[in-house]
Subunit: 364 residues, 2 copies
């Protein structure tokens, strides 16, 4: 296996462990597990989920739903505000699989009803304070109107409330993550209580890897949809969601220049390979942690070293003098990405440590 | 032409005008023009450059060099620190075209000499203060050693000094850009004067779109390598490199949710379509400017509106109440990207306003 340019590497043993751990956790808690597949976007990785007993998934676009449907997935949630411009393809797909889509307004339900005739499950997306998408949890009268509108169309079934607590990502500690998740959970439980008499089967679906990794009490929640945990990344490591050893993807990058006088070296590996997503630690921007791969895997982190800036193809790594002495032009370094979802999306192929090319969905 | 998902749109008339303006400018000044093709990465766009009389180009990776070589480009500079792991492919390509590659250390020249037998032009990359790659302009003794080493290998020819003044991007005004460019230019001219007696044909090659757009005096410089100007973007607009009307690429994105109570709407168009590159204006992050396309093109900017955050597929647009009243679910909005090079790289295909699919180099 010869690697000569930036290459997304996957440790499949870690992937399998990450999947089994999460599947076991929710099985034990008797919570439905509908993992988000936007992180890996790969049917090959999907097979590991099937082996772990998972039979439903979440995606972030209709194209991705079509890809996984073509690969045998029969129960798919598109966890993104339904795009009325894709209504015909949505209807076609809904004839073939059990599709769950998201609405958060009366108008959206009406627009969808004009083009979707196949039986389709509708989640009402609830915003518990992340302020990205969804109707605010306390707009109860409006939520009820949406439910009425859904009931008016025989092809639609209201299945429950879905929320993504994405604001866990900006918390500073595991206990802050737990607190925030519990507050959101309580808001959803209150909604559920209010509407359960009329919709005795309505479910609550929540997401996000920090909460799925850190929290232990999910009572009242029926379904969890984390995605990132399949690979984890530097951001999750700093949030406390994972150990370094659980991070299952890195990008191998050739060293192309060394500047010991300023403790910097340049790798072939830039924003187009890693994404411009960054962390801030002690006031410094971090675009990835750095290790030296060895024969068995990604290797140990190089102390004091991190990617400190990125342009299109250049990555600048800060590295203390003693450590830089061990590095030669032409060496490969492993960069632990800040946000694996973005990094994996950028790289149209993944390579396993065993040298296997792992196919992925190609957006374009 | 039906657009239902995030789509990179190109106004080819603007592209042609941008190319002709820059080609004319450097022709009049008698400066060689070697445009950087990493921005468009498209042989189709390359043909517009040929029509404008351009016969040499710059790229940022060996793969991109191979792509343009396969499409008839005979004189190509890889403006990136030469990657010794790709030495065999570099040698193969150098047999077929006039290849210019970059070195900035004795060690790099020696490593390359071990694998490259074809006649190859070497630029010494000079760092005039950007601190990304290249040897510092004042390390004169070391620069001389590199030249000696190049001379020792008959397959190599030292052609001159190349620099990328990427720090123009962080300046606050056109006059600051001019000042910085002139300082860098003077550093290179001093180097040239010192070595001209021994290398009477050595040239100075500089890059960057802000300087190429704003500066008028390039005396002493032999070659310019701007790339971004072919499309420009919001960042260049705020730097003063271009007018809004010269920006030739946008991403059309469907509106999928509206939240008038918080002056926000959600588009289908996130970091995987636009890149996470951002600007800061008046303390606010801006991930793109926003217009409503019309039948003739990208349309006028929507006053007070901008992309204020991005996740993987969601874009959040801030929009004043009055303007939001004009926008419906399912409308397409045009986002003027912050950094067109990154955005174009993410989108594996471009669509012209006339509905033509414009092919591109695919990195993976």
């Amino acid at each position: 296996m010869e690697i000569s340019k930036p290459t997304l590497m996957v440790d499949l043993k870690k992937v399998e462990r990450n999947i089994n751990r999460m599947a076991d956790k929710f099985r034990e808690k008797n919570i439905a597990f509908r993992p988000h597949f936007k992180t890996h976007q790969s049917n090959f990785i999907g097979e590991y989920f099937k082996k772990a007993g998972v039979d439903k998934c979440t995606v972030s676009s209709l194209g991705m739903a079509e890809y996984f449907a073509a690969n045998g997935w029969q129960d798919i949630c598109i966890a993104f505000p339904a795009n009325v411009l894709e209504i015909n393809r949505m209807n076609d797909l809904s004839k073939r699989v059990q599709l769950q889509i998201l609405v958060d307004s009366v108008e959206k339900v009406q627009l969808l009803a004009a083009g979707i005739s196949a039986n389709t499950n509708l989640f009402i997306e609830i915003d518990t304070g992340y302020f990205r998408s969804g109707i605010l949890y306390d707009a109860v009268a409006e939520i009820e109107k949406i439910m009425h509108t859904i009931e008016a169309f025989p092809q639609f079934k209201f299945v429950g409330f879905l929320s993504h607590t994405g604001n866990t990502y900006t918390q500073q500690s595991p206990s802050e993550i737990s607190t925030l998740f519990n507050e959101s959970r309580q808001k959803l439980i209150d909604l559920k209580k209010r509407f359960l008499p009329r919709f005795p089967n309505l479910i609550l679906s929540m997401g996000d890897t920090p909460a799925a990794s850190i929290v232990n009490d999910y009572s009242g929640i029926d379904e969890m949809r984390p995605g990132n945990f399949v690979f984890y990344d530097s951001m999750q490591y700093f949030l406390g969601s994972c150990t370094l050893n659980e991070i299952a993807v890195v990008v191998y990058c050739p060293v192309v220049a060394k500047y010991p006088e300023r403790n910097q070296l340049v790798i072939y590996g830039g924003g187009v390979h890693l994404s411009k997503e960054k962390l801030t630690r002690n006031g410094k921007a971090i675009y990835g942690l750095v290790s030296k791969p060895n024969s068995t895997g990604f290797g140990e982190l190089i102390p004091g070293s991190f990617v400190e800036s990125l342009s299109q193809e250049h990555g600048i790594i800060y590295m203390p003098e003693a450590e830089m002495k061990q590095i030669q032009l032409g060496d490969l370094l492993a960069v632990y990405p800040v946000h694996s979802c973005m990094t994996v999306d950028l790289n149209k192929q993944m390579l396993s440590l065993e040298g296997l090319q792992i196919p992925k969905y190609r957006t374009y």
